[in-house]
């Protein structure tokens, strides 16, 4: 997975021709040039293709045409093997990170001399960064020591060699010095006992890596953990003695692309180009199944099924990333209420609404939603990673927004976390307490922005919808739909009382009850019957038995229009108050504050959690609403009166 850069799509057909076309344009880049370069670079390229990209980068730098959207770095590369194969691979990979890297190579085999000589090209180049690429063979740790004292000396000498180079060149390097950990040797001398025996190369290299780690922890250098890379891809694939003997290549040349990737990540992190936000699709990405079709009980999530546990692991990974400061967002083609339901109500969800900084669930294309997310968080598109199981969506996002990273995903969701981790989007070179809090900080900002937007634009948005809210008595024609809503609505349903069609018919006919249905139409069409209210006409205070609404019209202020109607009707009948009640269910938490928001006061809280409310009609004034109310019930009442 890591070794073949599996999160990246295959190289474009005729990759070489496309790079050549860009190179022909490099002296005078036209519109979209850098997006095209980025799109070409965002693929699983081999060392030759990376070399071709590196040539493009070199020509851009030489021509002074590097765009502001790309960061730049001059990297010194010094080490104890053949570096010429690695330099173009690093420079080519860097373009994937929006970085133009100009590599200045030290000569083979004379690293220390060049580092000490202050008139060497490395000293004079004006380096931003330096990479000291050492391996066990060059550091003399590929042979066992004669005694434990000798082993200690050898580790010390190896460490000193790296440190000498770094310290000598430090005055010539502006930003950062990178050193590599050393992969452990494959071939055992004693066997498992190697780990205990200090004279074994295995133990010595382990000791050296410890010294390098301590040095980095003190802040002297940054680590490129090549040891871990080699272990991940497999030491047997990593180490290629034949290539060392033939050309002093430090590792198998087919590992060059992944090596370049790991180095480029650290350079990108130093330049602040690591990504900041993980945007998650929902269906078949955070849970198995489609919430809109399968419902809360039907999606696969949680212990008890292999698939459910796999999706749980994805959520856990997202939470862990959030814990280290990565902002989480949602981008899903879904009804918003359906999309939010698992976050609110599914007992096995690890991710909850308050972990998500921006929640985009609608039927607009994902590119537009990703733009909205970047805008709400006030970060660049190049800070986003978009995780989506659907290859077509990923392709659309890559095509329209080449700056957004949209990793390929394997068939099996159990491997989603590994793929995301392998892609290394969130590489860090340090970690602080502030980082931990960063996700929350971004989130608060996004909420403020959203509130501002809501207060500034929501009413004009609603006005622009030209909504017509029609309120009518329930009749035989509308009865089936009303009964259906009564038996199906779970979320926006204050009492969750279920009535059959016959019971609804009885309510219609009962002069002591007030049963209405509400339709909403707007510029985009008629939503049909979206709300039902049944009230008992108790003389002093009408008692609201049922109040439900379809979540499709949340936020349209329909409930306020309904309240105005109820208040008017109750007043006309001589009542002075309205009584409402919220009966909590597993699914109706979203309306727990419904009556509070409408200005009712709490009268009583019952042991079962039911809250009884009252609204004094004397003090009630209907608000101005951005919708036209067509109240046929009131008209009839007035004409009858």
């Amino acid at each position: 997975m890591l070794s073949d850069l599996a999160w990246l799509p295959a190289a474009a057909p005729d990759f070489r021709g496309r790079v050549r076309a860009l190179r022909a344009e490099a002296s005078a880049p036209t519109e979209g040039f850098f997006e095209r370069a980025l799109a070409l670079a965002t693929a699983a390229l081999d060392e030759n293709q990376l070399g071709q990209l590196a040539s493009l980068g070199r020509e851009l730098l030489a021509g002074g045409k590097a765009p502001p959207a790309y960061a730049q770095a001059r990297l010194g590369l010094i080490g104890d093997g053949t570096l010429s194969l690695l330099a173009p691979v690093i420079a080519g990979t860097a373009i994937r990170y929006g970085l133009l890297v100009d590599v200045v190579e030290g000569d083979y085999g004379s690293g220390i001399q060049q580092a000490m000589n202050t008139s060497s090209p490395l000293h004079l180049a004006g380096l931003d960064m330096l990479l000291v690429a050492s391996g066990a063979r060059g550091l003399g740790l590929n042979r066992s020591a004669e005694s434990s004292e000798d082993a200690e000396r050898r580790v010390d000498a190896a460490f000193s060699q790296v440190k000498l180079i770094a310290d000598a060149l430090r005055p010539a390097v502006v930003a950062a010095i990178l050193v590599q950990t050393v992969p452990l040797p494959i071939d055992p001398l004693f066997g498992s006992f190697d780990r205990l025996e200090p004279t074994s190369p295995y133990a010595m290299i382990g000791a050296l890596n410890g010294r390098l780690r301590d040095w980095a922890a003190e802040g002297g250098v940054l680590l490129v953990d090549v040891a871990r890379l080699a272990e991940t891809v497999g030491l047997e694939r990593w180490d290629a003695p034949g290539h060392w003997y033939a050309s002093k290549l430090p590792f198998a040349p087919e590992m060059a692309p992944v090596y370049g990737e790991v180095v480029a990540r650290v350079i990108a992190a130093v330049r602040g180009r690591s990504r900041k936000c993980l945007v998650l699709d929902l269906d078949n990405t955070l849970w198995g199944g489609v919430i809109g079709d399968d419902g809360l009980a039907g999606i696969q999530l949680g212990q008890g099924s292999a698939t459910g546990e796999a999706f749980l692991a994805i959520q856990r990974m997202a939470l862990e990333l959030r814990g280290r400061g990565i902002v989480l967002a949602v981008c899903s083609k879904n009804e918003e209420d359906a999309a939010r339901a698992p976050f609110r109500e599914h007992p096995d969800m690890l991710l909850r609404e308050d972990h998500i900084a921006v929640f985009q669930a609608n039927w607009t294309d994902k590119a537009a939603n990703l733009r909205a997310i970047a805008e709400a968080l006030n970060i660049g598109l190049d800070a986003l990673v978009f995780l989506d199981d659907n290859p077509a969506e990923r392709a659309q996002v890559r095509r329209e927004l080449p700056w957004v990273a949209a990793p390929e995903l394997p068939e099996d969701p159990a491997l989603y976390p590994r793929m995301l981790a392998a892609a290394g989007y969130f590489e860090a070179v340090s970690f602080s307490v502030e980082d931990r809090e960063r996700a929350g900080y971004y989130q608060a900002n996004a909420q403020r922005a959203a509130t501002l937007q809501a207060s500034g634009d929501m009413d004009s948005y609603l006005s622009s919808l030209h909504m017509v809210c029609a309120i009518n008595a329930v009749d035989p024609v509308t009865r089936p739909r009303v009964a259906q809503l009564i038996n199906k609505s779970n979320q926006f349903n204050l009492t969750t009382r279920r009535y059959t069609e016959a019971e609804v018919a009885a309510a219609e006919a009962d002069p002591a009850r007030h049963a209405i249905q509400v339709r909403l139409a707007d510029t985009f069409g008629d939503n049909g019957i979206i709300s039902v209210v049944i009230a008992n006409k108790v003389v002093e205070a009408w008692d609201i038995d049922t109040w439900l609404m379809s979540c499709r019209v949340l936020g349209r202020r329909v409930e306020e229009a309904v309240l105005a109607h109820l208040a008017g009707a109750a007043r006309a009948a001589g009542a002075t108050a309205l009584t409402g009640r919220y009966i909590p269910s597993a699914k109706n938490r979203m309306v727990a504050q419904h009556y509070d928001k409408l200005g009712f006061v709490r009268v009583e809280e019952l042991p079962d959690g039911t809250v009884v409310y009252s609204l004094d009609l004397a003090g009630f004034a209907a608000p101005d609403l951005p919708l036209l109310v067509d109240d046929q019930v009131a008209v009839h009442t007035e004409s009858a009166a």
Binding site: E47, N48, T82, G242, S247, E254
Partner: protein, 83 residues
């Protein structure tokens, strides 16, 4: 056992070399040597070997590589290893 024709190997080699040496076009014969192609140096030779190994799915030994003098030698080596 079906041996790959030397024409087929030459066609593949030409494609690989164009990519490895980053050339516009390449006139390749069995007699071509590294001296005939400016971009064919010891370093790009390593990339050539790796690209050929990747294309045909086998590994060369160092002694096999050291014995090569012409493109024809490489074609025959590929045929014998891939056959």
């Amino acid at each position: 056992m079906t041996a790959i024709s030397s024409e087929a190997v030459m066609d593949s080699l030409r494609e690989i070399m164009i990519d490895v040496f980053d050339l516009d076009d390449l006139a390749l014969t069995l007699e071509t040597t590294a001296d005939d192609i400016e971009e064919w140096d010891s370093l790009s030779h390593v990339r050539l070997v790796v690209a050929v190994e990747r294309k045909f799915g086998f590994r060369f030994t160092n002694s096999e590589i050291e014995s090569l003098k012409t493109v024809g030698d490489l074609v025959r080596l590929i045929q014998s290893k891939a056959g």
